[in-house]
Symmetry: C2
Subunit: 153 residues, 2 copies
């Protein structure tokens, strides 16, 4: 099936990616994780996104998130829901195969931890995807939280 | 795998549900749709939720959404992302097997239509799930948008 023209520019993301990453934040001990990410499409003007991470030591599930990617002119939009009770609306730009997104909104349920800002940078070089996620949360300024390197299956 | 105790009260939702629904809104012609909904779990303190609808006449894909359900004490929390560029944070209560949720927040990307409020009521009676979705959007007051009756596979 052909990728919808509206998201053709994001076609380089399509596929299932897996690899490892490292997490840190002032509030937690540094940690390592395995990750699986999938970008898929069904011929409609958006890509579906899902992500799961697992502890590198014992394989226990850590994080997960799901959402959709859209294009609006030269802008790229990402909406995400997380089982931690968070939602994100991110917007940004695509240059070559590098996606630079910043949160326009981070919403949360009453019982979720406060996240104020998220910045996601995703680069694809052939079959290698690297990303950095910076976060401002629970009173801390924007700082590196996650970085990972994944390979396309 | 056992449902996590934190979301045991929502266990009645688990499974894949399919059926038909009707949509209306002051801005669109009434429409009929087929729908598939799945609530699943992986032993963690949330349920995963995904939904897809298809036109009843020619089967073309209509809407989709994904998200997570959580419990916080007696409250139920739902976070949702939609390919229309919307995110929802809904909160509410569970009485028996009826879930009544109202949006605490509806967020959107720059290119998405404005939705101001959503109210979702989901009832399960054995293997039948019915829901109503009310919405206030693009300047209209809260009013019925969707209602459907689904059966557990």
């Amino acid at each position: 099936m052909r990728v919808h023209p509206a998201v053709e520019a994001l076609g380089f993301l399509l596929g299932t990616w897996s690899g490892t990453g490292r997490g840190r934040y002032p509030t937690v001990a540094p940690f390592a994780y395995r990750e699986e990410v999938a970008f898929s499409h069904a011929g409609r003007p958006f890509l579906s996104y899902r992500q799961e991470t697992f502890a590198e030591d014992d394989g226990r599930p850590l994080h997960a998130e799901v959402g959709y990617l859209r294009c609006a002119g030269r802008a790229v939009e990402l909406v995400v829901a997380q089982p931690t009770g968070l939602v994100e609306v991110d917007e940004g730009t695509l240059e070559g195969t590098t996606l630079s997104l910043s949160s326009r909104l981070v919403g949360r349920t009453s019982s979720a931890k406060a996240v104020d800002q998220v910045r996601r940078t995703v680069r694809v070089d052939g079959d290698v995807l690297t990303y950095r996620l910076e976060m401002a949360a629970v009173g801390h300024r924007l700082g590196l939280h996650l970085e990972a390197e994944l390979r396309r299956a």
